[in-house]
Amino acid sequence: MAEGPDALVRIGSGAGFAGDRRDAAVPVVEMLRALDGPRYLIFETLAERTLALCQLARRQDPERGYSPALEGFLAPVLERCLASGIRIVGNFGAANPVAGARRIAAMARALGRAPRIAVVDGADLAGRLDPEGFAAREVGGRLLAGHPMPVSADAYLGARPIADALDAGADIVVTGRVADPALALGPLMHAFGWRDDDWDLLAAGTLAGHLLECGSQVSGGYFADPGIKDVPGLDEVGFPVAEIAADGSFVIGKPPGTGGRIDRFTVTEQILYEIHDPAAYLTPDVVLDVTGVRVAEVGVDRVRVSGARGRPRPETLKATVCVEAGHLAEAEISYAGPGAAGRARLAADVVLARLARRAPGLAVRVDAIGIASLFNDTAGAALAAAFPESRAEDVRLRFSAQSTDTAALGLLLDEVEALYCAGPAGGAGVRRHLTPRLASASCLVERDLVTPAMSLLGPEAAP
């Protein structure tokens, strides 16, 4: 437990998503090594769909199913963390935390070390509900009705089992699905001895976790807009380190010598990231209210955050449920130079006319990159309005459709490719992709359907 009223707990972020930079944690660990007191490094690596992909991998091989990013994130920093007493918490266990823990044990053994590794399990709802049970609990309730068994169904666990793992002496905690802020709240509950009903403290720790869990999004990532919001050194943006006090207030900073920026603007954007009602951000641990939060710049790239308030946790837990949803077909072709927009428009008309005859049930979306794509809509109203006026001279036409009818999707891809010879003049650069699709829905499940479990990996576990 952190000693004394002035003790600070430091938590650094090593990753904000599975595709994050593999070397981002290195400067964070260097900063933490130079400091005293309790220090943690957290990794958030699970998108909504990741668990379903990992569940499918586990079915192929019972020793897989943890995040494929696990090794890439840990390899650059594992030895230095273990040598310096920096404890690691990550949700890279995904659909198979115990296998992920065994993989880390093997990595550590290759370094001549034998850390205590804890596994937080119990998020998986397989076998807890039947398909109708999931459908009945779906929020907004449209996707799951009539669907067979989900590919994956995982509740978001809270911070308590992570704190328990650290209480038990774990050097590394491997979880599956947990609420992202719990990756930081768990260490704080452990270090400060916060109770499960210290609502304002749990809210403060949740806010710290919320600001850390997306990595550099609080320290200059997802922020730069040249001329309006400049960010120095974005190519070496520093990932955040929070210094949390026993009263829950904290300062967000970053390693010296790194790029990026931390000020009231970067922090405020991230406070509201993926928040709906700012007075009621629901987590498994607490309902967080950020309306009274204060943000103060206390130094270069250092922002103090205080004033989070908490209310008792919700009765239910959120779960993400994934079901198979056929395939996504995407095909693209480009037109450039004078009249490019007109030729692209003709190409779209040709493909849609042929598909109307050959695959009449298939709903196809058309975008024209360079005219209307990101701001286009699936009905195509924005593109239809922009096409006649457009004088764009470098246009990439994109067709997409989703279906369980792979033959119809194949026709779409073939028709776009056929534009090379049989379409308008100058069509170039066809690319075509067919990828399996998993659809996801959110459910609210009763807490007694979920049994969080923490266990320490035995010394014999490394394969």
């Binding site: 709906h276 007075a279 309306t291 204060r294 699936t378 659809a439």
Partner: protein, 143 residues
């Protein structure tokens, strides 16, 4: 002859208004959960807060996103943070795992919001405009 001083040449307070993109007075960040989008809108300066509160209403944002047929648009005001949070239901084409579009997360949509035109005192435009944008502001005569 009395020499001109700095006070003499300074313009009197300019009460005229300029029409500028919201991007000049605020910045934004998009976040998604399922088919719901949130857009955090953060004032670049405290003077922008009342302007935005008056002009960037939930109704106006709903109209901006009309092609996506939002179910509900709510604006939350956060004076402590000098920011607003817009929550738009059902605008992400089913969300990242269902959308046929390139941007199922809606990450680019913060800049759709920032393209919205707002009326801003010319003084504030001059204070906030970057060098390139300054010449585009109607309140500043072009050379």
């Amino acid at each position: 002859m009395t020499p001109h001083t700095a006070t003499d040449v300074a313009a009197p307070p300019d009460r005229t208004e300029a029409r500028v993109p919201l991007r000049l007075v605020a910045h934004a960040r998009a976040g998604d959960k399922g088919n719901r989008l949130n857009l955090a809108l953060v004032c670049r300066t405290p003077e922008a807060f009342p302007l935005i509160a008056a002009q960037v209403t939930a109704e106006r944002v709903a109209a901006l996103f009309a092609a996506r047929r939002p179910g509900l648009v709510v604006r939350y005001d956060l004076p402590n943070l000098c920011a607003f949070n817009f929550v738009l239901d059902d605008v992400l084409d089913g969300g990242v795992n269902a959308s046929l579009g390139l941007d199922g997360h809606g990450k680019s949509l913060s800049f759709l919001l920032l393209a919205l035109e707002v009326r801003v005192p010319a003084d504030l435009v001059r204070a906030l405009a970057p060098p390139a944008a300054a010449t585009a502001a109607p309140a500043t005569p072009r050379p």
